[in-house]
Symmetry: C2
Subunit: 636 residues, 2 copies
């Protein structure tokens, strides 16, 4: 069975963070460097900064006009103007020009009356001493504190520092982070892919996350799983960096050497944290420097970085941790969690009926796309068993709340055309977005009922009369609902190129490895209807219980020979290079409650459906009938 580590213990997140940061503070010393002010933006000041010179440097005119001796203007009025002579009583000045004794005030050009003489003007009001004169130091006084210690320099600060005569500034040195990808199965992006290969991508994400938190990053070539090599490289890296990250090998598998290497080189303070995803984290100190082992699953890697690497970088850079924006939302589905860990559930957020609604996404640690699709997280505390549907929760958003407010929330059956519409929305209607979650047709209608979505894409066959969608909507809703036609599409059986098993129809599914769609999916209802007609029972089909949740996921399983056949739409088969045996046509449509129909982003979506760009893209995908696209009928 090979050698494995003891199964790792788990430390609660906050405890792990405290243990580690406290230990680091004892051994780590901040470092500083002097940089030119013109390159100091976003850096953090070491000391308070004091102005070297005042600004303005002298008494300066605040206007274009003439500098005068105020005493000589006394008594001037509309009826008794006072005449002033250039050189004697005034000098012409522009904004910023110095004002010299005996001149002590400025009159604006607009307030002067011309006279018959070139060098004389008249004024009709007296002026107070120091009118329109910016006194020396009005803006900045030499010797005053301009910026405090520990201040992150902004563009305006750069301007003021230069005005105050400061050319160089001492700032906190940016921490240099060396990052090692490890693993014998790992390949560089672009290298030839073989079965068992995993494309290395986490460390490239880390590089960018380090930059965002104010550090500098150096990503090294991939290290294979070799104890001595890892030991040698990490030891050398620690000598030249402020922090080292190792990805992955942080778990307790046979080839997970990271923890052993770090125990040999220094001290491992924590191995395993009660966080999900993200558990296999190693927090170590080697030669007074932080060395962190991060898990290999991309979502675990991301969450572990945010929780443990970012705070260390913040400490080193003397910056606050970059945080997501917090908001309150109603959660759309029950989420059960274990008391064993703090859990980060990715969510899609939308504003529906005036409330922020958060829909939980896939919870697997490997689902990197769920991080891309998500708008943020709902964090379930370790001491909570989860939250009920409809409960109010705190969410942290990494997408702009303004953008979320302008997003149509589409929940229901999946089709590739939703991606096309989502892509076209902001292109055709600036600032408008579409976000879709795939829960099947019935799931979509239920989301509409719970006021958690604006639109439900559905394709629900009524077995009694062969019609689509209307009877389901009528049964579920009291209030008027618009049904807008999306496309007529072809459903069928997807099989490998060349159809090696010679599948011709539903009947032949009994003799192959099938993969089904999830319960509530319209495609599954269609299969069930066809099976019933043919007298086929679920137990007769191997894999009837094996579920995938999108057309593309089914197609991918067939393409990779993990299954022989699956039901789905033509465009998915075409996109994966599969053969396709048509089973029937169906109507893929959009149910929209009356209250949402007039929303500007919902209207924008309906316009997108009818646009020529949309039609062009669907033609490329193939298998879609668009004669009735955009037609609206009311179900009351």
């Amino acid at each position: 069975m090979g050698k494995r580590n003891l199964y790792l213990k788990t430390t609660p997140v906050e405890e792990a963070k405290t243990i580690y940061l406290e230990a680091l503070k004892k051994v780590w010393e901040p470092e500083y460097e002097t940089v030119p002010v013109i390159e100091a933006c976003k850096r953090v000041t070491r000391h308070a900064v004091y102005a070297k010179n005042s600004s303005p440097l002298y008494n300066a005119s605040a206007m274009d006009g003439i500098a005068v001796i105020s005493a000589r203007t006394y008594g001037a009025s509309e009826t008794k103007p006072v005449r002033l002579k250039e050189g004697e009583d005034f000098v012409v000045v522009d904004t910023g020009d110095p004002i010299h004794h005996p001149f002590d005030a400025v009159i604006m050009a607009e307030d002067l009356l011309e006279t018959e003489k070139e060098d004389e003007v008249e004024i009709t009001a007296s002026v107070a001493a120091w009118q329109h004169v910016r006194p020396v130091g009005e803006d900045i006084v030499a010797g005053e504190m301009i910026l405090p210690s520990c201040h992150k320099i902004r563009p305006i600060d750069v301007g003021v520092l230069l005005s105050a005569g400061i050319l160089e500034i001492e700032v906190v040195r940016r921490p240099m982070v060396t990052i090692f990808p490890t693993g014998t199965e790992i390949i560089e992006p672009g290298e030839a892919i073989q079965e068992g290969s995993i494309i290395e991508s986490n460390t490239r994400m880390f590089e960018q996350m380090v930059l965002e938190q104010g550090g500098l990053a150096k990503r090294c070539p991939i290290l294979e799983d070799d104890y001595d090599k890892i030991l040698k490289e990490v030891k050398q890296a620690v000598a030249g960096a402020d922090m080292v990250l190792i990805n992955a090998g942080s778990s307790a598998g046979r080839d997970d050497y990271t923890v052993h290497v770090l125990r040999e080189l220094g001290e491992v303070l924590v191995h395993g944290v009660a966080i999900k995803p993200g558990k296999p984290v190693i927090l170590a100190i080697v030669d007074h420097k932080p060395v962190i082992g991060l898990p290999g699953y991309p979502v675990s890697a991301y969450i572990a970085f945010e929780n443990f690497v970012a705070p260390v970088l913040a400490m080193m850079g003397q910056l606050p941790v970059k945080t997501d924006q917090e908001a309150e939302a109603v959660i759309s589905r029950r989420m059960v969690s274990s008391l064993k860990h703090k859990e980060y559930v990715r969510i899609k957020a939308g504003v529906v009926g005036g409330r922020m609604v958060a829909a939980p996404l896939a919870r697997g640690a490997g689902a990197a796309m769920s991080l891309v699709r998500a708008d943020g997280f709902c964090i379930i505390d370790q001491n909570s068993e989860g939250v009920e549907a409809g409960e109010k929760v705190k969410i942290s958003l990494y997408r702009d709340p303004q953008e979320i407010a302008n997003t149509v929330v589409v929940t229901g059956s999946h089709d590739l055309i939703l991606d096309v519409a989502a892509d076209l929305m902001p292109l055709l209607y600036s600032g408008m977005h579409l976000s879709s979650t795939h829960v099947g047709s019935m799931g979509g209608l239920m989301a509409l009922k719970r006021v958690e979505a604006h639109i439900a894409p559905i394709h629900l066959l009524d077995e009694t009369d062969g019609t689509y969608n209307d009877s389901y909507v009528r049964r579920l809703f009291q209030e008027p609902v618009a049904v807008v036609t999306g496309v007529q599409r072809i459903q069928g059986i997807m099989v490998k190129k060349g159809n090696p098993l010679g599948i011709r129809g539903i009947e032949d599914l009994k003799s192959c490895r099938f993969v089904n769609r999830q319960r509530g999916a319209g495609t599954r209802l269609l299969l069930d209807y066809q099976m019933k007609k043919a007298g086929i029972l679920p137990k007769m089909i191997t894999g009837y219980d094996r579920e995938a949740s999108t057309h593309m996921a089914v197609a991918a399983l067939v393409a990779s020979d993990s299954a022989d056949a699956g039901m789905g739409i033509f465009s998915a088969a075409q996109s994966m290079g599969l053969d396709f045996i048509p089973v029937g046509e169906e109507w893929y449509e959009f149910a929209i409650p009356e209250v949402f129909l007039s929303l500007p982003h919902v209207q924008a979506f309906l316009e997108v459906l009818k646009s020529s760009r949309f039609a062009e893209e669907l033609k490329k995908l193939g298998g879609y009938g668009m004669e009735k696209t955009g037609e609206l009928r009311w179900i009351r």
Copy 2:
């Protein structure tokens, strides 16, 4: 009188913006470039991006354990374990290893029972097909849309793009902005300063603002006010850049050539905008490219950039405009505004008694330090005549609201020790801040009464008995107020080094140019008291009515020979190298209403007062007595 432009007309802000952006959209074409994905973070996608390969690339084990044939595990139970043989019934797998036919499920290592044979294990439960197997494409399916068009790439996107086999990506080209500082009076930072020189700093601020908005910046050497030179340089710059900024010369003064140059080279769409500060803006198009003339005063420059340059960069980069965070606040002072313009008033924000309070700062266009000190803006619409004290207003914040919530709001008399305390707060108490506004002692007590500040620094002499502060506090407050001693400090007359006029006391102020403090300032009360004792009337002192609002501002006027004498504290005189004639000692103390005393940031401030670091810094400044610093007495 020299040649001037006609006085410039002003266009309302939104109208100017619309005119300009619409005109640009007609002539300007977006440009794109292909970059490696590992360098694409923060860039904006041109097209939707589709996955090249799936992830995982194959059916993969989701656990460390053994891969089994699920059918062979049927019937296993606690009482009737099933025995499996390596090679025949199972193979050992680690997380991520491929699962090959006929194996179709994984059992975790923890669920295996060892047997007497090395190559045999027992299990006590059957497993379903595909348990703990990540199907091919579970995360990413080849052909599916990963990112939409117009998407700003984040670190997680970089990871997923690489996993999906994408190495290069087409993105919007970053706009290149060439920036010209102009003006014969302008000098480079570090050059020898002469009277009349202005240190060039605006364009260095612009450089950083361009970077923040996603552009690239090239700052050119200073151009003198020479029509032909400016013409030649701008013409050449337009050919090589996407946008050109010219600072300043955008007004209508004698040497303001920018508008004439731009009229010769292209079309000037707007000259002068109804915005304050920021009016002298020129919006031009030369050779299909935006060329913008920005005003010279730093605050005007900043506000004009935010309003006109940032939106153009956003359009070119296909990014949203970087916006400040909005909040609601109670305004602490009446602000009158004219219907002639939209006005940007800089404000300091604080949370006092559960409300966000905004205190307006200096409104001058030249007050760059007010931008540094401010937390954000209160924007008064062009069609508003202003807001009343206590009114609720929208503010936009460029400081972190979390930081603002942890800030002690100090309003009242000014002393350099407030800067020292503000500097030490976050150093000694992480995350705690102090923000001070200088409105004089009486102004501070009034702010406390209106619940707009936590602490008022005061030094108010009671003429009837020579005591400090208590009688004023008692008269104004019903509720208990703590008075905490700050320092005993020496007030006196500040005169030029060597005391050329031989000033020995109050009496001698009659024969010199004086500069006073503002009404309500404790220092002015002290002067009035001393004048009364000596029988001196205000009209006997030249400059009694000339006001400056801080000790340092008074000191700067004396140092620059703009005045001969002013009243102030020893540390200010010392900091500006002035001579000092002591007039008396006084108590500079902190009034703190009981309700605020227990706030953690107020407590942190009191600890800072008593810290050894604070004492050290005050020793350096000089002139402070610290025997009673930190002592608290109650006024009821």
